[in-house]
Symmetry: C2
Subunit: 314 residues, 2 copies
């Protein structure tokens, strides 16, 4: 099966709407953005053996490739609109492609994202998604904006993906699910925009991503006992020390990390009502520099590394 | 040098303007599109060993990665605006990155394209660019639209890249330049929009790409002696038969292939005045099916294959 047959296989399955003037099959897609909104664009590449393993179900790879991009839009408070998909495949395998699309398109449908174009090349397996969304002008939540005294808050729970990665084949299904099929916090991000001063999604690890929110002269204190842990994580890592390490340094959670004023927290928490997403205070912004992780007894936990760097840490 | 140092190295060199509300360095870029225009988006991936060789100058790879995407916008008659760059690199090599950016950003500057974001991952060398442009609503030139009797016209000259590929190390510099550093026909595409009924850029080869313009019941006849050949190609392949084969089936030229009514051709040609880009009639759309390549004596040239398929032909 050739490149054009594979593309036709994709085209036959995608949804469309009035915003798509020209979709899959021409030199480029033509889209009609909402004239009153800014465009929000992001891209992420997943490489076999780095971000996922070849033996993963292709539907999980499809889900993950879109989810990590949706998560970036969530961190901006943006609404997803259209995606481009660039697949580099070692061979033409229509069954693999169908499974991949099962995961990709199910998530796209859940988040009202239309696949409007892309590219298929031959080479070592990797997936690049470009995602376009929109937002009211001036309403994006940026990484800058932190102030001394701000509350550090996080959605959902932390450490699940890192635990699955560490446990490997013995990881319980609930943790593997969080690693392979993370849930992008689009709705939570859109609501937190009104309350947060700064926001980022946790892809590289809590400490590494929190560091991106700290400008000159700003430090952060994390209270380890407040880090939200899922029941599955608590069962798999009952020793606090091990669990905290995973929660503070492990990546791939794709929860939102938001900074907000003290008196904004209650409203932020209330704004998530009905979404089934918790918002938890886990620390505070202080004057100084660095990030300290404090045990309940007041002592500091020393951590080996502060997250994921694609060239340094792996 | 880590991922974030590499990103900082890119950010330090990019241009910006008022349309970029948030550029490189946040979770996503925020852009302010022109409210009166449609968005035109495309993506292409270049894989080492397939679309370029590892030993190429990195600046050529940077040029090519953007050029192939600009060419897709040219074929839509669109104006380039913003690019995202996803680099997958086997190692962190700042010198390579600097050279890559030399080629990428010089071309971006020539075509007023702003690099606003992207991604760096570790893995086998490949480059994915996502390019966004805009166009007046309803003004894109699509692949559909061909009619019996239409003239087949092409910009510039054909067969240069294929000749460089075939000659390998012995290829003259003028041909290598066309292979490594193709010139996207953005200005020509924007002007041809007013005259062409259908348009595509020639990436896979004249015959393969012309086939994409032929709907049911449509055939095409190419007059081989009319295929425009550069002086360098004529010197390197003086035998008509060899040259025609390269021109009809060789890919990577990134010239525009346009179909237009008989009485539109003169105006189309005149519209390119001042651009230093020729527009040449090379054939005609007929009723029937298939593409015939006619020698000056009226006989047909049989060609081995009709272009490039990423899985079938290579």
């Amino acid at each position: 099966m050739g490149e054009f047959d594979l593309i036709e296989r994709i085209r036959a399955r995608v949804d469309t709407d009035d915003s798509v003037v020209v979709g899959i099959g021409d030199d480029a897609a033509v889209l009609r953005p909402d004239p009153d909104r800014d465009l929000v664009v992001t891209t992420d590449t997943l490489v076999a053996g780095r971000h996922f393993e070849n033996h993963w179900p292709a539907s999980d790879i499809g889900h993950l490739a879109l989810a990590v991009n949706l998560s970036d839009l969530a961190a901006m408070g943006a609404r997803p609109r259209w995606a481009l998909l660039s697949l580099t495949l070692p061979e033409s395998n229509p069954d693999w492609l169908d499974d991949f699309l099962d995961g990709f398109l199910a998530l796209a449908s859940d988040y009202r994202t239309l696949l409007v174009g892309g590219n298929i090349a031959s080479g070592p397996l990797s997936v690049t998604v470009q995602l376009m969304g929109d937002v009211e002008p001036g309403r994006s939540t940026l990484r800058t904006g932190a102030r001394v005294g701000d509350i550090v808050a996080v959605t959902g729970s932390l450490g699940n993906a890192a635990a699955a990665l560490e446990l490997g084949a013995s990881a319980p299904e609930a943790l593997v699910e969080r690693f392979h099929r993370p849930i992008p916090r689009i709705a939570a991000g859109a609501r937190l925009v009104s309350h947060a001063r700064a926001m980022i999604d946790i892809s590289d690890g809590l400490i590494a991503d929190l560091a991106h929110l700290l400008g000159d002269g700003l430090a952060a204190r994390i209270d380890l006992e407040n880090l939200p842990a899922s029941p599955a994580l608590q069962r798999a890592f009952s020793a606090d020390q091990d669990r905290w390490r995973l929660q503070a340094t492990g990546g791939n959670d794709y929860e939102l990390l938001a900074l907000m004023a003290d008196d904004a927290f209650a409203a932020a928490q209330a704004s998530l009502e009905g979404l089934n997403v918790a918002l938890t205070r886990i620390g505070r912004i202080e004057a100084g520099q660095g990030i300290q992780c404090r045990r309940p007894d007041g002592s500091m936990l020393e951590l080996d590394h502060g997250g994921w760097d694609h060239f340094d840490s792996h």
